[in-house]
Symmetry: C2
Subunit: 460 residues, 2 copies
Amino acid sequence: MDIVATLRQLIGDSGVLDATELSTRSAGALRQDALQGAALARPRTTDEVASVLRWCHQHRIGVVPCGGLTGLVHGADGSAEVVMLSLERMNAIESIDSRQRCATVQAGVILQVLQETLEQHQLIFPLDLGARGSATLGGNAATNAGGNRVIRYGMMRNMVLGLEAVLADGTIVSSMNKLIKNNAAYDLKQLFIGSEGTLGVITRLNLRLWEAPTTRNMALLGLPDFASVTALLKRMDRDLGGTLSAFEVMWQDFYQLVTTAPAEGRPPIAQDYPFYVLLEGQGADPDGDSGRFAAALETVMAEGLVVDGALSQSEADCDRFWSLRDDVAQVFRGGYPFIFDISLPLAEMENYIAGLRDSLEEKVPDHHLLVFGHLGDGNLHLAVQVPEAEGEQWRQTVESLVYEPLAAFRGSVSAEHGIGLEKRPWLGVSRNAEELALMRTLKSALDPVGILNPGKVLAP
Amino acid sequence: MDIVATLRQLIGDSGVLDATELSTRSAGALRQDALQGAALARPRTTDEVASVLRWCHQHRIGVVPCGGLTGLVHGADGSAEVVMLSLERMNAIESIDSRQRCATVQAGVILQVLQETLEQHQLIFPLDLGARGSATLGGNAATNAGGNRVIRYGMMRNMVLGLEAVLADGTIVSSMNKLIKNNAAYDLKQLFIGSEGTLGVITRLNLRLWEAPTTRNMALLGLPDFASVTALLKRMDRDLGGTLSAFEVMWQDFYQLVTTAPAEGRPPIAQDYPFYVLLEGQGADPDGDSGRFAAALETVMAEGLVVDGALSQSEADCDRFWSLRDDVAQVFRGGYPFIFDISLPLAEMENYIAGLRDSLEEKVPDHHLLVFGHLGDGNLHLAVQVPEAEGEQWRQTVESLVYEPLAAFRGSVSAEHGIGLEKRPWLGVSRNAEELALMRTLKSALDPVGILNPGKVLAP
């Protein structure tokens, strides 16, 4: 059976790369290896996606859907046996409706392309994350992407009004709802959002848009202890009354790393505070917002929750503050990094990090722990650096030290990155036997032959 | 087989009412008929719910879960053959966590009880609807309730962090996530939210809480035409920058009805404007919010979008404005009302209502159409009154005139009330064959014997 030849009959010669051609592509962001697959299918239409899936289903050939390949959990890894399915040629923004505040897009549209297109409409699609320049909206939906402004707008799940998906057997389910409220029976889109391509392939989306804020105020704050960090979150969420749009935290080590050469960033405030918070408010009152933002901060400084701070005076300041938090590339120098994306209750966070420091100290002689993340959402990113030469040999140890303590309080091994292949061994930390059984029931119901992104999320 | 006797063995004598005892209860809000069922089971624990379901599953006996019986679509109707399952004795608020901003509740807790309990914590659970005094949180989740502040906080789906549900066969799936972000594989709670008890019985919930706003400003506005209504929505959503918490519309007929005796309300502004908007902003700046609210309105009045308006000067004013919009009971006088709960794109709304007026005029000689609703969410409530003496004989005609035109632009036959039995014949207006087939796939996978809320949502 010639997979490449058959696919070319189905979707045209230019739509299909063979194994050699596709191996010239990278396996993805931050990856050294090449893409693998029996073929890379690049359909132009939903019907072509359906014809590829129908044929693969008949012949029990695995299909791995891929977006911008910016995922960090090996959720789109291929192999010599599977068809890689890229929606890169389905990249049209079909419509933008300013009154309904809805954009209809094909799944291959790059996040940043939509963000920039919307500027002329005074609307925003509020999802934002570091990979914005290559991540696709279909991939964002399939992984329920989070990012920088979840505290205000929710995750991708909250921004998808409707979608079109192709099931394993090639059935096209068009559920292109544009309405904020629609309780006409089951909300099917929820099946495809966050299931990492294991239950269907998302081909088109109706996305909710929001009116663009017209003001932005930011502060970079130094805090004396963790209790002050969580108290500040409550206070700002209350005192900024609906305008709080980001509440990011950096532990001291991470702040020092991204504000010290060879990093490009320089410290807006001193480097010796235990915790740093990056606060952002977005509003619509050019005359009053900056004063209200500053007044809210003055109060918490007077109370000692915050001991030092720099306020943005311009959009350039805001960008500079964000660039510190976003300079995650720094964790790739000075060691081999294992990167984590966990969430846990705020009440557990300080003890959890303290315990992790102790256990790393004990079990991993030469390491460096860096902590930062979306504290407003209970989401921490951890980077554990080990010596470059030792690298992967530490994976099992480091992963068990990070993940196992989460089980005690039902923390999540994946706040936003997903499970893919990388976190699959640890899924049982966050999900119990009944949950896993029900997930398998869903997988069997929607993909009985098991061709969709085989082996990802749930073990076969 | 003695259903009552067996259930009493399973969950105790006081936990079970027999057919005669349960028939002394009303079938629900706005209903004249009595509850029906072979028995009413009132378990005290999730294990008891599981034992009831396990036994019913073994014996293929239908189970109808019920909350506060405030639904409007016959979603909890019983029959002589089924076991009614009420969670009224599972009504504990188990915990309120001010730092995590999460409440853990049993499914039988009344919405208003939670709202009032939270006042002392300066937190809110933002779901709010007319039935707050008897609707349960489990029912709110099972029906994905919407209500008055969806524009700011989303529907119930957006407020549930985690839940515990019992499957048809008695399996307890505890998925009591407390985290805002958790992408550890499939988001199972989505299956149970909005599926009206047909896929499982929700027994406990972790609910997201928000910091309580400290200011409230309202206005009741008169508008000259529908284009101004949608333009105002965009403007207020932008200009109130995150504080807009309600945007309700009343067509002239409805406003006149609720501001004229025998209704208790009196008109804050004249009764001859084509459209009225009830606007609410909730913020946290006691010094600035009312001024900013008033300034935003001055601008749109100067532009002619709004031609008249009354601003709240007190909390009592706010309550009075809301009481007009909430006085839906008025549609029960002067005729037999058919009540609808539709959603459709804003661009279609004006033509749709005009078309409906014409077709009602033509087909229903003696009628009265009243229109109001949550315009900010695209959700309209319609009441079509026909002569009391003719009543139900008009159902088919009126329903077809209201529902069938929605198909052209994928409007929803149910924005928030759900499908139940009442809207089941019309589900095909809003959902296509592939969507319905996929819903049946889910139903078969989770409830293969078909005991859960039999006949509701999907025809057997």
